[in-house]
Structure formats: structure tokens, C-alpha cells
């Protein structure tokens, strides 16, 4: 069985930064991702990132991805693509599958950076072709250059709904309307006003009731909801669309953390069940760390910092880094993260994250 010092699972912003940081401090690192290209969510993000300068704000996600890939290569990280981690066994043995062949990899430290999975919403007609997650629509448009539809309705007004809504328009799809069950728009107003400027109707206190069609979506029915989110009878409206895009949140992809026997806490602000972890991003299983969306749904900027912190902690625990130097580096990463969290939304994330801390 092959042995490595640090295995990083998931090559999104969190995993890429973790791998780079680990290799920089002398660790022998293997980075594993199931896709044929590294970058995770970044390669779907053709928009300029928000956030602070140190986090490369103003740069498009896809370009951040390319920069990180370059650094990964330079740092001497071994990258295994098209490789799924399907198991995590005792003594940190990973089971991998690549081109139909299963192999094992034993690691002294593991960083889980598997990201998140899109939530679905069940309503009559939700299995019709044409109903899809916002992430799926993004993958089709921005990565594979396929138009997922002609006329769309977006469900959900968080940043994902707003940004992907705008990307639909950029791809040449007519975005009929965006509905939001809450009384207010969830995401940043810059993104919402972009949609408004493009003539998209945004209905709050409204949800999707049904998708109609024989073979695929031909129309969608929306309905107003009261303050308890119960549909108000008689307010149904039918819209002629061939695509229903769901942007109703993400949940941490925690299967591997479960297999590892990590402890969890349920925090709805962070997307659901989140592995408990301390300041060093270490879970309740010694030597297994988490970073990025798996540690609570947030942003690429914080995912990158968490990846760095986890890798620093791993390097420190393997004696590659003096305690003081490691502390200073972790502190500055944490400081950048705190600055990022300074917004009102960030403060909520920060508070939730703090309640996750297991040790110290």
C-alpha cells in the first residue's frame, strides 16, 4: 500500500490551499479529486469574486483556480484526478477508485475538503427533465458550454441564486422570474440589483408549487406564502418556462467524516450537520482535519484560509514546523478570515463556527 504524509481530499479552494501550504512546509502531499480538473466550485465561477483584496477579490473564480493550480504544481504536490475516495478505514487508510480500479492509500494526516452538495426541493413535477440545481446549471453552461434551457425560473435568492441567475442571462437564457419564500432577498444587494436592471421580476414570500409538463418542464406554478411559509390558496400563478433552477442551499458533504467517526453538530446557518473541529481545524478524530464548505457552508475566501490552517497544523504535528512559527502563521490566516467575516452575514457564520469548537 502506498504511504503519504498528508492526503488532501477535494481540490476546491480549500484543498488546493491546504496542499500548497503543506508542501511548502516540507510535507509529502497527495491531493485527490473526483473531477478531471482540479478547482472544485471555482471553475464554475466566471464572476468576479467578492471579498477582500488579500483573498483575490475582484478576480474571477475560474482565474483563482488556475493560479492555485499553478502553485500546486510548483510546490510539488502529487495530484490524482478522476479519482474518487470511496472509503476511509481504520488507521487512516483511504480507498480510491480510478478508471474502475480500486487502490488504497495510507496517510499520516488527512484533510477532508470535499465541499458541499446542493439541496433539492420536492414538489409535484420535481423529477421532470428541466428541473435542476443551480450548480448543475452552472456546470452545464460554464464548463461544458451547454444551454440548459431557454426560459427559466430561479428558486432561491441567496448569492447562489442571484449569481447563477445572472449567469443564465449571460448564457442567453431568459430568466422569467426569481422567487424567494422569505420576505426578503437573501444575498448581496449588488447581485440582486444586477438582476433587477436586467428586467428580472423578483417575488419574495413566494415559492414554487408545481412543475408541469408531459416529457419535460413546460410551465411552473408559483404561490405566495404567509409568514409561516404556508401557501396562500388562490395566489397560484402559472409561468411558461422550460427550466426550473433550484438554489435552495448547500449542505456539507460529510460522508467521509462520518466514516472516520468524527463528532458532529447540527447548525442550520452552516448548512446542516457539520464535523466538530477546533481552531486548528482538527476534528474529534486526531490527525483528521476539515477545511472549506465541509466545515460549514461559507465562501471560497474562508475555505482557502481554513485549508492553510489545517495544513499548518498537520505540518506542525509532524514536526515540520516550530510551534511559534506555526502559531504565527495560523494566527495571520485566522485574522484574514475574521476580517472577511466582518460583514453582517459573516458575523453569523463566525458565531456558528465558534459554537463548533471541540477543544480548548
Amino acid at each position: 500500500m502506498k504511504k503519504v504524509e498528508l492526503a488532501v481530499i477535494g481540490a476546491g479552494p480549500a484543498g488546493l490551499c491546504a496542499a500548497i501550504e503543506g508542501a511548502k512546509h516540507g510535507l509529502q502531499v497527495t491531493l485527490i479529486d473526483e473531477n478531471i480538473r482540479a478547482g472544485g466550485q471555482l471553475f464554475k465561477q466566471i464572476h468576479k469574486f467578492f471579498g477582500s483584496g488579500v483573498h483575490r477579490a475582484g478576480i474571477r473564480g475560474v482565474d483563482i483556480g488556475s493560479q492555485l493550480l499553478d502553485e500546486t504544481e510548483k510546490a510539488g504536490v502529487e495530484v490524482m484526478l478522476d479519482t474518487v475516495v470511496w472509503g476511509l478505514f481504520e488507521d487512516k487508510v483511504l480507498a480510491l477508485v480510478h478508471e474502475g480500479r480500486s487502490t488504497q492509500l495510507s496517510a499520516e494526516r488527512i484533510i477532508l475538503a470535499a465541499g458541499a452538495t446542493e439541496n433539492a426541493l420536492a414538489f409535484p413535477g420535481w423529477t421532470l427533465p428541466g428541473v435542476m440545481g443551480a450548480g448543475a446549471a452552472q456546470t452545464m453552461m460554464n464548463m461544458h458550454r451547454v444551454m440548459p434551457g431557454k426560459k427559466a425560473i430561479m428558486v432561491g435568492s441567496g448569492n447562489v441564486g442571484l449569481i447563477v441567475g445572472y449567469q443564465l442571462i449571460q448564457a442567453g437564457i431568459k430568466l422569467e422570474l426569481l422567487v424567494e419564500a422569505a420576505p426578503e432577498i437573501g444575498g448581496y444587494s449588488v447581485h440582486a440589483s444586477k438582476l433587477a436592471r436586467n428586467g428580472v421580476k423578483i417575488f419574495t414570500s413566494t415559492t414554487i408549487k408545481e412543475a408541469r409538463g408531459d416529457e419535460r418542464v413546460e410551465s411552473a406554478v408559483t404561490v405566495s406564502v404567509d409568514e409561516n411559509w404556508n401557501p396562500v390558496p388562490g395566489t397560484e400563478r402559472e409561468h411558461e418556462v422550460d427550466m426550473v433552477c433550484l438554489a435552495v442551499g448547500l449542505s456539507p458533504l460529510i460522508e467521509l467524516a462520518r466514516l472516520a467517526g468524527c463528532g458532529f453538530k447540527y447548525l442550520s446557518e452552516l448548512g446542516g450537520h457539520v464535523p466538530l473541529h477546533d481552531e486548528k481545524m482538527e476534528t474529534t478524530q486526531p490527525g483528521i482535519y476539515v477545511a472549506g464548505d465541509i466545515a460549514g457552508i461559507d465562501e471560497a475566501s474562508t475555505a482557502m484560509e481554513e485549508g492553510r490552517i489545517a495544513a499548518l497544523a498537520a505540518a506542525e504535528s509532524l514536526g515540520r514546523l516550530g510551534g511559534e512559527e506555526a502559531d504565527a502563521l495560523k494566527k495571520s490566516a485566522r485574522k484574514r478570515m475574521e476580517e472577511f467575516w466582518d460583514g453582517s452575514f459573516g458575523r453569523r457564520v463566525k458565531a456558528s463556527k465558534e459554537s463548533l469548537s471541540v477543544k480548548e
Binding site: G87, F89, E90, V93, G100, S102
Partner: protein, 375 residues
């Protein structure tokens, strides 16, 4: 034995505990099942669901007869129970891949035919005609037309639902923590949620029967034996019969998923799956049915079989306090033996005597000095 006023409490809500409650219910007798977590959450939901009295037996005798009697009950039971237990009268092919194994198979066939059972030797072409997806390397197979399969979790739930309808109470999320006796008789069962008066207590705690036995200072030699299983994605119909090889058994379930089992490991109460076992099972399955090479296996799990030193269950009265009975140690056959165990235990409790003698299953056979009949 049982008076109508007797309070009957069953410790353990696996398939055995639930079956006993169900058959007591059929006799108009109420009982209470105390289950630590959830109905069927341990061995009974980990099982493959094979009902294989013939393919899994190595010799005639008392235990084989019990297995056959148990197997004969499922046809009617599947009509009688309210939930679908996915009972399939499928038959079983015991595939033979080499000469040495063939000799063993011939011996097995000989004594089973002598016992008046249905079993047939099929040569390679007959075997492949029956199950074309099998590997062309087969030498032949033993065909057991009466060995079938069902869904063990559905059966456990069906017993539980049926028992409740017939007046039983099932307390889940309740652990048995002690047993009280008064002048040599059980008087109550202590749980983490209170005490229940009891005139009869049945230890049906599967692999934990030893811990429950210890509550009345009784040594019950049941030990966990881990078994691992892998399950494929749903597939179009590939084969109909249960397939058994030297390495593995393979069943295609009604929804199309293929189940491959299993291992036998003495590792205490550890229910982890291991990559070695997953590879072993996968390799064994692909060797028997090459088309399984290119399908996805989506789940792996492990369960703990209640093993006894002679691999035969412990059932009936004990030499401990009056009113303390046992129904445990069903090892690899607890699903197959669930109905017959429920029936016999209910007869023992209500009539004082089971229609098939339970003497050979008594705990006392393990007492020091007793002659242990090894399988």
C-alpha cells in the same frame, strides 16, 4: 406454565424477540418487548435474508430438521403478515468450481437424498442454461429448489407490526439494565426508563445475551461473529436463484440490488467494514458472475451474529431463576429460524411444551462437564 395473568417481557427487539411477541399474540397472549435502540437495528437488519436449510447444512439431525421446519413456514407466513416481506421461492445453486469441491458436493447430495430432500446435480451446461450469467468456468452445481430468500428487515418489522396489532407493546430506546428476583423467581425487569413487573422474562438479546444473562448470574456463552456484506446499485434481472460458491453467496433482491456476503470474524463488538473484506467479496462475486465486474457497489455494512460454541441456538427454560427463558445464539440462521423459534417459544410459554422438543437446545449443554456436540 403460563397463567393468563402472567406478565411476559422480552429483552431484545431483533427478529427473534419480535417473532416471539408475534406468535404469543397469535395465541392471544400479550407481551412487552424491550429494545435498546430500534426494532431490528442489529444483526436482523444486517443479514442477507437467505433461507437455506439445505445448502448450509453439513449433516442430518436435530438441527437440520429444525431448519427445514422453519423454512416450511414462510410461504404461508408471507400471506399472513401484513407487510411485504419480499419472500421469493427462488431455489439455490451451489456452484462447484473444482474437483475437490465436487467430491464434497457429492457427499452432501448423497445424505440429503437419503433424508428424502430435493437436491439435484447439474453439469456445467445445465447450470449455465438455468443461470446464463454465471461464469463459464463452472464445473457444475448442486441445485436446491427449496432454499429461498426474503428481506430480513421487512420480516422483522412485519413481526413487530403484527405483534403490536395483536396487543404486544414494543418499547424502543429502552435498555434492560437489571433483573430482580424474589425467592428464586423473576419478579421484574429494570430498564433505564423504569421498572416493569415480570413473571416471565425471555432473553432474546442476540449477541448481548451474555450481558442480560449476567443480570441473573447466568453464563450465556454467546459471542459476536462479524459478517460483512456489500450491495450493488439496482440492476436489471441478472439471475434468479441464490448463488453460493466456496467464497461468497450472491442474491439479487427484488429491487434489482445484488447482495454479496459474507465474512466470519471474531473481532468482538466491532461493526466496522474493512477494505480487505470488501475486495474479497467483490472478487468472489465477479469470479462467479463476471458481469458484476462493471457495476457499482454502493454500500457495505457489517453485523454481529450471535455465535455459540456448537453453532446451535440456545432456547427454552434455563437452570436459573424460575421464569427466565432464553432464545438466542441463532448465529448464521436467525432469519431462517425466526418463525419456528417464535412458534416453539410461544408454545413452551402457553402450553408448557413445544411441539418440537427443545431439550437439545438447553443452555445446560454448555455447563462444565456437559458433552459439547461440535458441528
Amino acid at each position: 406454565m403460563e397463567k393468563s395473568s402472567d406478565r411476559i417481557v422480552i429483552a431484545g427487539g431483533g427478529i427473534i424477540g419480535c417473532a416471539i411477541a408475534y406468535y404469543l399474540g397469535l395465541k392471544g397472549v400479550k407481551s412487552t418487548v424491550i429494545e435498546r435502540r430500534d426494532v431490528g437495528c442489529e444483526a436482523s437488519s444486517a443479514a442477507a435474508g437467505g433461507l437455506w436449510p439445505q445448502a448450509e447444512s453439513s449433516r442430518p439431525g436435530m438441527f437440520m430438521d429444525l431448519c427445514l421446519a422453519g423454512n416450511a413456514m414462510f410461504e404461508e407466513l408471507s400471506r399472513q403478515l401484513e407487510l411485504d416481506i419480499e419472500f421469493r421461492p427462488s431455489g439455490l445453486l451451489h456452484v462447484v468450481e473444482d474437483e475437490q469441491y465436487r467430491e464434497e458436493a457429492e457427499k452432501l447430495m448423497e445424505w440429503q437424498l437419503d433424508s428424502g430432500l430435493k437436491v439435484d446435480w447439474l453439469d456445467a451446461s445445465e447450470t449455465l442454461k438455468l443461470e446464463p450469467s454465471l461464469s463459464e468456468d463452472v464445473m457444475g452445481s448442486l441445485y436446491f429448489p427449496d432454499d429461498n430468500h426474503l428481506n430480513p428487515l421487512s420480516l422483522t418489522r412485519a413481526f413487530a407490526v403484527g405483534a403490536k396489532k395483536l396487543g404486544a407493546e414494543i418499547s424502543t430506546g429502552t435498555s434492560v439494565t437489571g433483573i430482580k428476583t424474589v425467592s428464586g423467581r423473576v419478579s421484574s425487569l429494570v430498564t433505564d426508563r423504569g421498572e416493569i413487573g415480570a413473571d416471565i422474562i425471555i432473553n432474546a438479546a442476540g449477541c448481548w445475551a451474555g450481558q442480560v444473562g449476567a443480570m441473573v448470574d447466568m453464563e450465556v456463552p454467546v459471542e459476536p461473529v462479524r459478517g460483512q456484506i456489500i450491495l450493488s446499485e439496482p440492476l436489471p434481472p441478472l439471475f434468479k436463484r441464490c448463488i453460493v460458491t466456496r467464497d461468497v453467496y450472491i442474491i439479487q433482491k427484488p429491487r434489482g440490488n445484488v447482495v454479496v456476503g459474507s465474512t466470519r470474524e471474531f473481532v468482538g463488538y466491532d461493526k466496522s467494514v474493512t477494505p480487505e473484506a470488501i475486495h474479497l467479496l467483490h472478487r468472489g462475486a465477479v469470479k462467479a458472475i463476471p458481469r458484476l465486474k462493471s457495476v457499482s457497489f454502493i454500500r457495505a455494512w457489517a453485523g454481529l451474529r450471535p455465535y455459540t460454541p456448537d453453532e446451535i441456538p440456545i432456547m427454552g427454560a434455563s437452570d436459573g431463576p424460575e421464569g427466565f427463558l432464553l432464545a438466542t445464539g441463532h448465529f448464521r440462521n436467525g432469519i431462517l429460524l425466526s418463525a419456528i423459534t417464535g412458534k416453539l417459544m410461544s408454545e413452551l410459554i402457553t402450553d408448557g411444551k413445544a411441539s418440537i422438543p427443545l431439550e437439545g437446545y438447553r443452555l445446560s449443554r454448555f455447563l462444565r462437564g456437559a458433552e459439547v456436540e461440535r458441528k
